[in-house]
């Protein structure tokens, strides 16, 4: 047992840190540190910079052009990016669909799709949830019917994150109604420029447009876009979910945001208020405990002996912590969290703020973060899974 990273790992960290410091545009990191609005261009610019270095698919094995890092190296890379103020990599291409294409796609599909994902050129979206299929995802109804060399897709997806920018979407579609719901699902890649695809943004409670409805009206999809075998899509989707188990806990961002919370609390004069300060202290312990859990999982992936048997715990705890720091930041601002001035959340705004400028996005972030215990398998569904493991 040893808490320290090896000298090689520390050297690796230093290399990543130096590279990020030299290559992350400061206008982007400034926005991240201050929770200001990130445009499509900001996200895409950083993705392309990573892509040129070969690090956008930082979890990829060497045979597909990735760096072939182990779990600890991946974690160190993510930590250095987060602490330096890099935007989160939009995961749908490099983190979510790419591993499925690598594991279950054929050689032509790999050659066709992976380069655009690795370079950051092509924006991918995820088509899983439907209006009637949230936690019960396997009940999904979007149909794909085989007609000759094509599938014809009809139905609706929803909660498609950043789908307004999407060029391609990977979808779970129903290709059979026989047997159990899980057995009739296929994994299909769809060009969002295809006739019959309509994207309708959903305005969220904080005023942001982050998620979308995606409608499919007789959309013709070449059969060559089917991943693996027909009716095996559920298996592939589960593979995707088992990938990057520590990613959703996002402990690195939590550390960065905890630092921001302390800055905001100091600026707003509540850091010396013992009642408030103790709430930060509790969160500090929560973050360290989460980080220790993450490290246990990572070390287990490296050594092959898993010391934490339930990954769902990371999702539950990580999401609760994300909500808590956003909540405490809002409370630190107090009444000055209340004015809603959307322009004040854009970089470079020169207008008159009400209260300190750093207060402007705090309530919106708090409102937005309520999503974290809902998405990626709601925390209640996660608790069902955890309890099944414990109760046997």
């Amino acid at each position: 047992m040893d808490l320290a990273f090896t000298p090689e790992e520390q050297l690796f960290r230093a290399e990543v840190r130096a590279w990020v410091a030299a290559n992350l545009p400061s206008d982007i990191s400034r926005k991240v540190f201050n929770a200001l609005h990130l445009s499509r261009d900001d996200m895409q610019r950083w993705a392309r910079i990573l892509g040129q270095k070969g690090w956008l698919g930082h979890g990829w094995p060497k045979e597909f052009g990735g760096p072939g890092w182990n779990s600890v190296q991946k974690h160190l890379f993510e930590e250095e990016c987060a602490l330096a103020g890099a935007p989160r990599v939009v995961p749908f291409g490099p983190v979510m669909v790419a591993p499925v294409i690598m594991a279950f796609g054929n050689a032509q599909q790999q050659a066709r799709f992976l380069p655009g994902i690795a370079s950051g050129e092509v924006w991918w979206s995820q088509g899983y949830s439907e209006p009637g299929s949230g936690s019960d995802l396997a009940s999904l109804k979007t149909r794909a019917e085989r007609r000759g060399a094509s599938y014809v897709v009809n139905g609706q997806k929803t909660w498609t994150t950043l789908g307004q920018y999407g060029e391609w979407i990977f979808c779970l579609v129903r290709t059979s109604t026989e047997g159990k719901p899980q057995t009739g699902i296929s994994f299909l890649l769809i060009d969002m420029q295809s006739p019959g695809v309509t994207v309708r943004p959903i305005r969220l409670l904080d005023g942001s447009v982050e998620v979308n409805e995606v409608f499919f009206d007789n959309v013709e999809v070449p059969a060559e876009n089917l991943i693996g075998e027909e009716n095996q899509g559920w298996t592939y989707a589960k593979h995707l979910l088992s990938h990057e188990r520590t990613n959703i806990a996002d402990v690195n961002r939590a550390k960065r945001e905890l630092e921001r919370l302390k800055r905001v609390a100091k600026a707003e004069g509540v850091y010396e208020d013992i009642r408030f300060r103790d709430e930060i202290a509790k969160l500090e312990v929560d973050v360290i405990a989460l980080e220790m859990m993450v490290l246990r999982v990572l070390a287990g992936e490296k050594s092959g002996k898993q010391s934490l048997d339930v990954a769902g715990l990371l999702k539950i705890r990580g999401s609760e912590i994300q909500q808590r720091y956003s909540e405490l930041m809002m409370l630190a601002a107090g009444p000055y969290a209340l004015p809603l001035i959307h322009e004040a959340m854009e970089a470079g705004w020169q207008g008159d703020a009400v209260g300190a400028l750093h207060c402007a996005p705090l309530a919106s972030t708090y409102l937005n973060m309520r999503k974290t215990t809902i998405y990626g398998g709601s925390n209640e569904v996660q608790r069902n899974i955890v309890s099944q493991v414990v109760l046997g």
Partner: protein
Amino acid sequence: MDFDFSDDQDQLRDAVRRWVEKAYTFDRRRSIVADGGFSADGYRELAELGLCGLYIPEDLGGMGMGPVEGMVAMEELGRGIVLEPLPQALIAGAVLSAYAPPSLASHWAPQVARGEKVISLAYQERAGRYRLDARATTASRKGDTWALSGHKSLVVAGDNADAWIVSATIDGKLALFLVERGSQGATTRGYGTIDGACAAELMLHQAPAQRISDDGLAVLGHAVDIGIAATCAEAVGVMDQTLAITVDYMNTRKQFGVVISSFQALKHRVADMKMQLELARSMSYYASLKLHAPAPERRAAMARAKYQLGQSMRFIGQQAVQLHGGIGMTDEYIVSHYFKRLTQMEMVFGDTLHHLGEVSARMQDSAGVFA
């Protein structure tokens, strides 16, 4: 970074677990509680396993092992809610061999390792609560030795100890001393504690003492931190077993014609208990792996760990009783004894609010395992 146990550590765990399962049965424990909460035989058996000398170097008759071995042993003792206080042996062994004058160390440390002598830390005072710098006990020079006067409180197994490590001030500065049982002017008043173990008040009136260290606050801080790490590890064992007992019960007990583990409200409680257990285990690892860090870093780490463990212990203990229903309230059924042990352990070496205060006071701009 590595959280695997070595083969030797696995063997140590197996040996202690086998002893707990075979030799330290619930019936035996019950009879020890009835007899006052401490068994000299039980303590000697810990020594025979090599545990009392874990932190004592080999040239002083110990095993010369580290915090991870201590953690492994404590987890397994926790599983069986063993009453005999191994943390006191770990503290005494480490303090004597690292800080005491050689003559004192070479006299006492081998006897601690062999389980022939029990030495207990006496640092708490009525007015001091959990603070280390309680200073109502004073030391004055008496020829070659010292004389201590004061009243130490809540000394673990204090009535069964052969000597005590006592904090007392010399001209206002804290120092550590060794006081032997039977010394004139040293008397104890023992009592049971809520977990079935025992403690004592230690009254000193010009009691003869030998000085361990002038740097009392630093050494006491180290001693208490060894105790915190050991208690955290023990708590993990207790909680692990508490959850296992609760899960067994839920999978057996039927109401409304089905086992109660089929109810979602109760399933989610189990998930929350598992969460607290794994957070606690993570922070227990953290505590033990930070036990050799420089003092400020070590102290901060122990406060964080004990804060998490305190919360976990209270939650898991309370929920275990709740999920058992009425049977959880009885003395006869095992789970209430685990609950009481958890309640006790939350309040030794600083309770949850105390350590929250420590974390809060030590907060820096950055945070994290490596900050």
